[in-house]
């Protein structure tokens, strides 16, 4: 449970308010084809090029469930530690809109494919469990485009029929930070599972945010407002902050909250009423008679269970146990599956005599900085895991110093060069031959007799001077540890 120190409260005069948040996350199923048709689902295709007769709701066209999408939903359910329902039902959600060709969306209403589950959030002050209410499969709608023509609306049906998982949380979230952590965790789990790419820019992950407020300590929930279709974590946080404060202000002024659907205006940073409860659609849900109830066997579910990769929580635990990482380091490395993969590959390529801590420092330090600067994903890293492993090993076995390693790293960025070759070609190998270094140091002491005497008389600061001279004379390649040892002996 979270400690009081980080509680997110809204303060007004004498009153403190707690914010209660529940999310309905819409995650696009990672699948080559749509939920009920064989059309492609590629993002960014030319408008209306990925539309079948089924997607466009031509007369007599019938939906046929895509088994792969069912598997993806069940896997996600397993990843959310949730109950998998062996029998689920597809319903029709009826409403008219130009980008909804059937006049209804096929969704799951009473009997979703996945029931209650939970996810664990790592918050700065400890872990917090967030309940999952359900996960169901549904079709996405098409896209209405209003800004091409002043008179007409254009409709792109490429997205029509694409499979979505709607993941509904319990109202367990209490702050914008928890919402951020929750979305990141969901995203991470689904990316580990390969069930959703989690790409928020492309709309693969978006959420309806339910917000209510209540006096601190109250057990009753306040009236909630639903903020529709928010497509970035930052906007979710901004929308919650605005909405929670709006609701508190209403209450403080003696008013009450109307249950309604609101939209977040990202430009003005405010939420606006979209429709009230009275205007809410009557979707007339009923079981889709074109589809039989979806039934899956224990065997089917077990096969999928056996197919589940190591998930973030388990991986974190293993990283801590096996690699002796701190929880902090482990969290950084596991949060994104590609980072975890990269790290594990580095570890594997380092061989027997490996320095994992050093590798972690290089990944989270130098490499992350470069990726950040160049705005690259780790999967696009200019330096391969193998070469980074070699670099770390070169430091570990004393071939190069940490300082030289940074030079080598810079050179590696250009074409993923082998660090071993760079060291050889550029003659950057560390001088670790004690005899050569002794000769070099003898010369320096000889050239700086007066300073050597001052040192012996107690001016210890001069030790640094001699180290510097020695490094300079070696062109930076001298093994600093050896230099220290020899200098101590000679002076």
């Amino acid at each position: 449970m979270s400690k009081k120190t980080s509680e997110y409260l809204i303060n007004r005069k004498d009153n403190q308010y707690e914010v209660v948040i529940g999310l309905e996350v819409h995650a696009q199923v990672l699948s080559e084809s749509k939920l009920f048709s064989t059309s492609a689902t590629k993002f960014g295709a030319e408008p209306n090029t990925q539309v079948s007769l089924v997607d466009a709701a031509f007369p007599g066209m019938l939906p046929v469930i895509n088994e792969f999408c069912v598997k993806q939903a069940i896997k996600t359910g397993i990843g959310l530690n949730a109950k998998i329902n062996k029998r689920s039902v597809f319903d029709r959600k009826n409403y008219f809109y130009a980008d909804l060709p059937q006049g209804y969306q096929i969704s799951q209403f009473k009997d979703p494919i996945v029931g209650e589950g939970k996810v664990i959030l790592d918050m700065p002050d400890g872990q917090k469990e967030i309940g999952i209410e359900r996960l169901h499969l549904e079709q996405d709608a098409g896209k209405s485009i209003h800004d091409i023509d002043p008179q007409n609306t254009f409709v792109d049906l490429n997205r029509s029929g694409v499979a979505l998982m709607e993941i509904v949380s319990k109202p367990d979230l209490r702050s914008p930070d928890e919402v951020s952590a929750y979305i990141k965790k969901l995203r991470s789990i689904m990316r580990y599972l390969g069930t959703c790419d989690g790409n928020m820019q492309e709309g693969s992950l978006r959420a309806d945010v339910n917000v209510s407020v209540r006096p601190k300590g109250s057990k009753e929930f306040g009236t909630r407002c639903e903020i529709k279709n928010v497509n970035s974590i930052k906007f979710m946080q901004m929308a919650i902050e605005y909405e929670a404060n709006r609701q508190v202000d209403m209450i403080e002024e003696g008013g009450s909250i109307d249950q309604e659907t609101r939209l977040f205006d990202t430009k003005k940073n405010e939420t606006r009423s979209m429709r009230s409860k009275e205007d809410a659609h009557d979707y007339r849900y009923f079981p889709d008679p074109d589809l039989l109830p979806l039934e899956v066997s224990d065997e089917f579910i077990n096969d999928l269970k056996n197919d589940i990769p190591e998930l973030p929580d388990d991986k974190k635990k293993r990283f801590i146990d096996e690699f002796k990482l701190s929880p902090y380091e482990a969290t950084i490395l596991i949060s994104d599956i590609d980072t975890a993969k990269y790290f594990e590959e580095v570890v594997a390529k380092m061989g027997k005599n490996k320095d994992i801590k050093l590798a972690v420092n290089w990944i989270t330090g130098e490499l992350f900085a470069v990726l950040n600067n160049k705005n690259l994903e780790i999967s696009e890293s200019p330096i391969s895991a193998k070469n980074l492993a070699i670099l770390v090993n070169l430091i570990k076995n004393g071939t190069i110093s940490g300082k030289i390693a940074k030079t080598v790293f810079e050179l590696m960025l250009d074409g993923n060069k082998d660090p071993q070759k760079i060291v050889e070609e550029k003659g950057l190998k560390q001088q670790s031959d004690p005899k050569a270094l002794e000769a070099l140091i003898d010369k320096i002491i000889n050239d700086n007799r007066e300073k050597a005497i001052e040192y012996k008389q107690g001016k210890e600061k001069l030790f640094g001077f001699f180290v510097g001279q020695a490094m300079k004379a070696s062109g930076g390649k001298a093994n600093p540890q050896l230099i220290n040892e020899i200098l101590k002996k000679k002076l």
């Binding site: 031509f58 007369p59 007599g60 019938l62 046929v64 469930i65 849900y285 074109d290 039989l292």
Partner: protein, 485 residues
């Protein structure tokens, strides 16, 4: 051969296979008769030129191993046919030309048959008299200004009037069996899941089923054998072993147990219907079968149940006709206005009535009382049949509570119109096969039909019983060609 159109499908197939007739001759004969029969208004779209070309092409390289070699067939305009306008009898699809073929019609063309044209029907198959069609009333060949029944009224009229040797209809609550009964023809509603619904304009998805309409039982069996197939494109299609219905057809029904349900003796049923039923009971006994009195206790709830379930599904199925993507579009000030005008102008009164009923019964606050309760009753009706089939092999009932009525007679009385389906809807609700065969005439000489209801997937059995009864009944349709001048 002037009597080509008088031949049954089975005879035509034989004659073409024996090279006594060419596809061109047969096709031409049916086109000629169709041309002379415009007054029946059986066609919405004629495809005669193309049909003749296809027949000629067939004759150049005839494949006589097929089941329907070069035989021309007109089909109900609810089946999507590639490159041929498909309207569902509605203004809203008046200009709609599919780029695809329904599985059922595809199965027919694959057996060598040729499309003659698209037959009139009630709008979106909603009707029992063919009077709701945007394309006008269909005349019953039996008598002038008599309805042919519906919704497959054009199909029934075309078969009875010999404009096509055979046809296919669709049956959601009786739309094959009732018009067959009204026109003295044979109509089979197969088990739900037997014929693919892919490419058939949907009315009520959980009830819709395509089926053959023919002049006799053997023809009906042959076409059923062609159209029934497992289709992965229809999630409700069922993969079961399908018989070669026409080859396995037998009139030996000795020892079969036929149930006679007492609940089908409804109040106000004309005596001639009761008499017909009694005659039917005698016929099956004469064939060596045994009749057993049974009870289907929830029968009286079937019609109200049907008129909740079917409109509910229809209200949703017809939402796609919104003027956005295809079909008729009215001009509107904005999207909502365009929807309202398109659907108000594009749909007829009966379709609008059913959309409203369906929307109502699914509305929040009414769903449990209507839709959910109807689903429960539907289960009870199915259970009734399951119970009955522990004792009997098939069930014999009248097909309709009356013979055909005059055009306009029931137009303003939807409930009286709905009562036409009282004996047929329970079969759809239970997903069972049912066949209507002509069994006699009323006092005016109009045909009357008997219905044989089978167990699920047991089409062969009811076809056999129908075949045996047909022989005993020896029905002759009284058609005078009154419409041909």
């Amino acid at each position: 051969m002037s009597d080509i159109t008088k031949q049954s499908l089975t005879e035509l197939v034989e004659n073409i296979k024996d090279k006594k007739l060419s596809s061109t001759e047969v096709t031409k004969a049916f086109i000629d008769r169709s041309e002379k029969s415009k007054e029946l208004n059986a066609y919405i779209t004629e495809d005669f030129t193309s049909a003749l070309n296809k027949a000629k092409k067939f004759d150049q390289k005839p494949n006589l191993d097929l089941k329907l070699p070069g035989v021309p067939i007109a089909v109900k305009d609810l089946f999507c046919t590639k490159d041929v306008k498909t309207t569902a009898g509605s203004k809203i699809l008046n200009n709609f030309v599919p780029t695809y073929e329904s599985t059922v019609t595809d199965n027919i063309w694959k057996e060598g048959s040729i499309l003659l044209g698209k037959l009139n029907c009630d709008e979106f198959a909603m009707g029992s008299s063919n009077e709701t069609s945007f394309f006008g009333n269909v005349q019953n060949p039996i008598d002038k200004d008599l309805v042919p029944g519906g919704s497959s009224g054009g199909s029934a009229s075309a078969v009875a009037g010999q404009l096509t040797p055979i046809t296919i209809g669709t049956d959601t609550g009786g739309s094959i069996r009732q018009p067959a009964s009204f026109t003295g023809t044979v109509g089979l509603k197969p088990t739900y899941g037997s014929c693919s619904r892919y490419g058939i304009v949907a009315f009520a998805s959980s009830l819709d089923q395509a089926g053959p309409m023919a002049q006799n039982v053997k023809d009906c069996a042959l076409l059923q054998e062609v159209i029934s197939s497992y289709d992965p494109k229809d999630s409700t299609s069922i993969d079961f072993k399908r018989n070669q219905y026409s080859k396995e057809l037998t009139n030996n029904i000795k020892g079969k147990k036929i149930g006679i349900p007492k609940e089908y003796r409804v109040d106000g049923m004309p005596k001639e219907i009761e008499d017909l039923w009694q005659k039917g009971i005698q016929y099956v006994k004469d064939c060596g079968a045994e009749t057993i009195d049974i009870s289907l206790p929830h029968t009286s709830y079937a019609l109200p149940t049907y008129y909740i379930v079917a409109p509910a599904e229809a209200s949703s199925n017809l939402a796609r006709y919104d003027g956005v993507k295809y079909g008729f579009r009215a001009k509107g000030e904005n999207l909502i206005d365009m929807y309202e005008k398109t659907r108000s102008e594009g749909f007829g009164a009966e379709v609008q009535r059913r959309i409203m009923i369906g929307t109502y019964v699914l509305s929040s606050g009414y769903y449990d009382a209507y839709y959910l309760k109807a689903q429960k009753v539907r289960k009870l009706i199915k259970n009734d049949f399951d119970e009955a089939y522990k004792k009997v092999d098939a069930i014999l009932t009248p097909s309709t509570p009356s013979s055909a009525f005059k055009i306009g007679e029931k137009t303003n009385d939807p409930v009286s119109m709905y009562l036409n389906d009282i004996f047929t809807v329970p079969v759809n609700l239970a997903g069972l096969p049912g066949i209507s065969i002509p069994a006699g005439h009323d006092s005016r000489g109009y045909p009357l039909g008997l219905q044989i209801i089978g167990k699920a997937f047991d089409e062969q059995n009811i076809l056999n019983i129908a075949y045996a009864m047909e022989e005993k009944i020896n029905f002759k349709n009284k058609i005078t060609d009154w419409w041909i001048k």
